[in-house]
Symmetry: C2
DNA sequence: AACGTGTCAACTGTCGACAGTTGGCAGTTT
DNA sequence: AAACTGCCAACTGTCGACAGTTGACACGTT
């Protein structure tokens, strides 16, 4: 049975997890407002912890606060997407460089395994799931061994997820992404930091362009 | 003529400003704990808004939260400094590249003015104030015109300020920094993104090394 | 009909109080 | 003396209620 009070995670922490999920999945659609009393009742907690959770998500960029008006799920303009990808590119190119110069054999195996799984899924007729794309970028981050960069990339990727509309189902794009990933792994395997950075930049440039086109349709 | 935002900032917002100042100036020393009731009384507010302020500063990296124990001002290990500068380097090198490719004549004038003021101060026997260093990096950020990158750099610089111990008063270092800044401005003026990035990387590498030595003494 | 004004419900901002947890201290045991 | 045990004060986590602000609607005016 559940103890009178949750022992492991604070109510605010739980609320953060639940709300983040609802925002990222679109269950709370972009542009909509988060009503404090309503959501607090729905989660079975009071407004105090919920407010802290809302502030936390706002600091992650998943909500925007308007004084005396509340919290809103941001909907992105093309300009936002471009600016956000400039940040993502800066971070992930650096991560690719660091990964190329620091990677161990274990890192390489992991990266190759993720790429191989993507290929298997693709050849089996299944679409390249976004899950595997995230897994690849995360594995690369681990290989970079730069905790602050990793932390920031995760936050940026969350915001990208918030924006991605119909990115998932474009086969040519998926194929190109997998090729990029393979090339990236080769550069990292060679310890070629400059090339790793360049391939990452090209990859993200393509992804950004893809998002922009699928955003305007 | 009242702007859409009220003249009154929320108590939580005010608390954020006061606390940030106190943390950055060392008035609340690293390693110490922030007592909620005590600080709330001192600020003349209740614990609710103060808690939100504390959470906000924690999201900026100026405080670390320990469940059921409270908020602490973090004190940095050399490893932290290195990792933090990896993040700063990634962001500011990208900003330097963007600034080189996007800078206008107005941007150039502003950058040169900051450099000139630094020289004047220095030749007048005054030390190169940290204030002017911040101003230079901020002006460069404005020239990059990438809002998300700028935002993140500001946050990282705050954390660097939190760590800087006796960085200020080393004349050789100051001189080298001013030279770096001048060279950076030249690269930006030439629109040479690759060189701007490289100079920035070297500059931050030197600053990081300086901080590490002054940290262990 | 369009425009300005007064009123109001809904919601956020804030507060004081209660409940649960933590680390330390005194007392006891070996 | 060292280690274990039980208690306690201090603090954080949480809650319900009050106060101030906002946006909208209805009403009256031109």
């Amino acid at each position: 049975m559940t103890p009178p009070t949750p022992l492991h995670l604070s109510l605010a922490g739980q609320a953060v997890d639940v709300l983040r999920e609802q925002v990222l999945t679109g269950e709370i659609p972009p542009g909509s407002r988060v009503n404090e009393v309503e959501v607090a009742q729905k989660l079975g907690i009071s407004r105090g912890p919920l407010r802290e959770a809302i502030r936390h998500l706002a600091s992650e960029g998943l909500l925007t606060l308007v004084p005396h008006r509340g919290a809103f799920v941001p909907d992105a303009s093309p300009e936002d997407v471009r600016a956000l990808f400039e940040l993502r590119t800066a971070l992930e190119c650096a991560a690719a460089e660091l990964a190329a110069s620091r990677r161990t054999d274990v890192d390489l195996v992991r990266l190759q395994e993720v790429c191989a799984e993507s290929r298997r899924n693709y050849k089996a007729g299944q679409p390249f799931p976004y899950r595997l794309d995230l897994a690849f970028h995360r594995t690369l981050l681990d290989a970079a061994r730069s905790p602050y960069i990793s932390e920031q990339v995760q936050l940026v990727q969350q915001r990208v997820v918030l924006l991605r509309s119909a990115l998932a189902d474009d086969p040519p794009h998926q194929h190109a992404s997998m090729d990029d990933h393979d090339e990236l792994v080769r550069a990292i395997a060679d310890g070629d930091a400059a090339k790793a950075s360049e391939v990452m930049r090209r990859h993200l440039s393509r992804v950004c362009a893809q998002m922009l086109t699928s955003l305007t349709h």
